[in-house]
């Protein structure tokens, strides 16, 4: 079971610049769907990557689904060379996204975000409108049910 509060606390405690996206962001807006992992888009600015690595170092982040024993270390060089990482940590599953289909990078997404208080922490989260836009732009068949729910949620919110 993913400890959402613990992961968010780890990221915010060292000032990582990130945006909540995916199922947890949808849930924060009122979605009823169950989600198992935390998806964040992180800023790839070098100082932010350093903070991100520092935040995750105690959590023993490892590639999700990979066989044990691979020489994987989530350090600044690894994050800089890579982009998106699906990880398992001591606090549960975390998707670190440098870029998302249909939405781009952290800086591209910023204008479509809002700050929410979650578990007593201030977290930047993709807005409901942006979540719908990103999922529609990505056009993945597996997102169709989620898009339907998010649009219904927007209709209910705006009634």
């Amino acid at each position: 079971m993913t400890d959402f509060e613990g992961l968010l606390r780890a990221l915010t405690s060292v000032g990582v610049d990130f945006i909540l996206v995916g199922g947890v962001a949808a849930r924060a807006h009122g979605s009823a769907r169950l989600t198992q992992d935390l998806d964040v888009v992180y800023s790839r600015a070098p100082d932010n990557v350093a903070r991100l690595v520092a935040a995750l170092e105690p959590l023993e982040a490892y590639l999700r689904g990979a066989p044990p024993g691979l020489p994987f270390v989530l350090d600044v060089a690894t994050v800089t060379r890579g982009l998106n990482f699906t990880l398992t940590t001591r606090l549960g599953d975390l998707d670190l996204l440098g870029e998302i289909t249909g939405g781009g990078r952290y800086e591209d997404l910023l204008t479509g975000t809002l700050e929410l208080s979650l578990f007593g922490l201030r977290c930047r989260c993709l807005s409901l409108e942006s979540l719908i836009h990103v999922k529609r732009a990505a056009g993945r068949p597996r997102d169709l049910e989620a898009i339907a729910e998010l649009e219904a949620l927007r209709e209910e919110r705006d009634r």
């Binding site: 009122g30 929410l116 979650l118 578990f119 529609r136 339907a148 729910e149 949620l153």
Partner: protein, 68 residues
Amino acid sequence: MHSGHEADGAPGRVFDLDPVVEAYKKDVDRTLLRENLRRTPDERLRALVDLQRFADELRRAGREARGR
């Protein structure tokens, strides 16, 4: 009308999302959404944690039942 593209990593495959989305929308439980909208974002995430615990317990009970 909105057209989607790049279906599951298959560039060039173009399809129309809207009829499918509208069809799915008919099955959305709006009473749950209305209930969630009455909550704060913080309360919504705490409810997710409760739901996670419940799902975990169901999985555990399922494994236990199969093991008998």
